[in-house]
Amino acid sequence: MLKYSQERFVGIMLTALGLIVAAIYISLSYGVFDLTFAEVVKTLFGSQSNGEYDVLIYQFRLPRIVIAGLVGAGLGVAGAVLQGVSRNGLADPGILGINAGAGLAIVVFMFFYQGKLAGTDWFSILAMPFFGLIGGLAASILVYLLSWKNGRLDSQRFLLTGIALGSGFAALSLYITLKMDPTDFHTATVWSVGSLFHANWQYSISILPWFLFLLPIIFWKAHILDLFQLEESSVKSLGVSVGREQVILLLCSTGLVSACVSVSGSIGFVGLIVPHLAKSLTGIRHQRMIPLCAMLGMLLVIVADFIAKNIFAPAEVATGTIISLIGVPYFIYLLFRSKA
């Protein structure tokens, strides 16, 4: 009778969870140095204390998987929210200039301070993510202000402004990176493509508060995103304060994206692909779709990062490159389908 039942949703969520667990296990055990199932389990649950394995899992592989999972979930959810708010299925944090804004802030930061902050204390580790966050938030506020017209947010204007500002920021970033010394230039380039190479526990902890604070708000507001699928006069007539809800949701997703970008660089396409995939699996109700976006995003980035680490091991490909390789064809497919 109903195409998208609650049972189906639960089934899909459990399947996604199973796949995530499998992906985590594979990422933990395979690599330049392979571990057996027993070794992984023993190290994880502490029944065997082997210094080498501990370092491998706790210092290298696990933090990276955790970051990949968080970033994937954050970008997936943020993408769904952005598409809902802008009423445009092609909206993506990358297209809206948030990544570019964060990128510019980080490049500026690296250009002026990097040399002086070589320490390993919390401040020097977290200064870069913090600048990314500020940059991302500033960019999205700018995009929002510029696309505000006649007391309302025009979704076309919103997208175009985002694209325009994004290109501007990217150009500025490029200009600054060209003036850097070779080491910084390399770091900046890898960062701009999106890489989890620098993953560590401090990063996870630094972005976790954003997730704990913003995800619940988004889940709580999910039913309003359902209403945003109607045209604006219907939404207003139902008693939704359209402008206020848009600002809240937009700020939430920007916070998430900026947090993600700050630790992983500019990973694109997750926020674009994942919501579409989730919609086709579980239907358009955001109360189901958004949790599924979190799961699918996690899965996608964990798997992509595993491929990025191992495909040309010991050399590493940027995670963002792998996701783009999957994302570009899918994006083109979406464009063609929306035309038809």
């Binding site: 109607l230 006069s233 007539s237 139902l238 008693g239 939704v240 358009i284 109700r285």
Partner: protein, 271 residues
């Protein structure tokens, strides 16, 4: 006291002002229809009264309270507007869409109550959409879809309904069906209804009061018998209308019309 009225209202789009200094009071418990040529400001008036469009000046009073001083959610419990050509996602089922109408009555995230369920069933019942409640919007015909949108507005259980051309794009049977639902709402629930219609014969048959607008002004208002006359129609639409009374119920019917013959006649109609 009027249930809904405007005072020195000025509204429009960007630089363009559609009307100004407009005073208009809606009669409680009646069906009021606004008629007038395209671009005369009918829809703009309706949208401004329904706070979909922000006024440039003046005030809209809902139960004597300034609309701008009320929370939009509180307004949504008293007044709803069905836009001219509403659109929603094709994948949405009829019942899901109608459930959206309960939004102003829910606390955030709260599950729907028995009252909500009753309102939804009632809305589906009166609009006869109950038989296809599980179908998707994309699979419906134009007439079915319009009834579903009407049902969503009704699920809001407001005392005032503003309908912007609710019969446009429908065939004559569906037009009649929609208007009958409107009439039934007014009779059974004493809903106050303001709608914009292009068909003056429908306006005559289904309204208690007709308001004629032209170039941003209300040029005449009154009962159908007073309004659907060759004189008023000439003044409003610049047409030479031929009107008779339906022998069965005395409702005026415009059975034919033509352009005014001469320039002089047209200008004469204006003044």
């Amino acid at each position: 006291m009027s249930i809904l009225r405007t005072e020195k209202l000025q509204a429009g789009y960007e630089q363009h002002t559609v009307f100004q200094d407009l005073d208009f009071a809606v009669k409680e418990g009646k069906i009021t229809t606004i008629i007038g040529p395209n671009g005369c400001g009918k829809s703009t008036l309706l949208k401004t009264m329904g706070r979909i469009l922000k006024q440039k000046a003046g005030t809209v009073f809902l139960y004597n309270q300034d609309l701008r001083s009320l929370a939009t959610r509180e307004i949504a419990k008293k007044l709803t507007l069905l836009p001219q050509n509403p659109v929603g996602p094709n994948e949405l089922t009829v019942e899901e869409l109608i459930t959206y109408g309960r939004f102003p009555h829910l606390n955030q995230g709260q599950k729907s109550s028995i009252a909500d369920q009753k309102a939804i069933e009632w809305a589906m019942d009166i609009t006869k959409t109950i038989s296809f409640r599980h179908r998707e919007l994309g699979s419906l015909s134009g007439g079915e879809r319009q009834k579903v949108w009407l049902a969503m507005a009704l699920a809001q259980e407001t005392a005032i309904l503003l309908l912007d051309e609710p019969t446009t794009y429908l065939d004559m049977v569906h037009q009649l069906e929609v208007l009958k639902i409107v009439q039934q709402l007014n009779r059974q629930r004493q809903c106050t209804i303001v709608m914009v219609l292009h068909d003056i014969n429908h306006a005559a048959r289904f309204s208690h009061e007709i308001v004629a607008m032209k170039e941003g002004h209300i040029v005449a208002l009154g009962s159908p018998q007073e309004m659907i006359t060759p004189e008023v129609l000439k003044q409003v639409f610049c047409i030479d209308a031929r009107v008779m009374l339906d022998p069965r119920d005395g409702v005026p019917v415009c059975f034919s019309y033509d352009n005014l013959q001469t320039e002089k006649e047209a200008i004469g109609g204006e003044t």
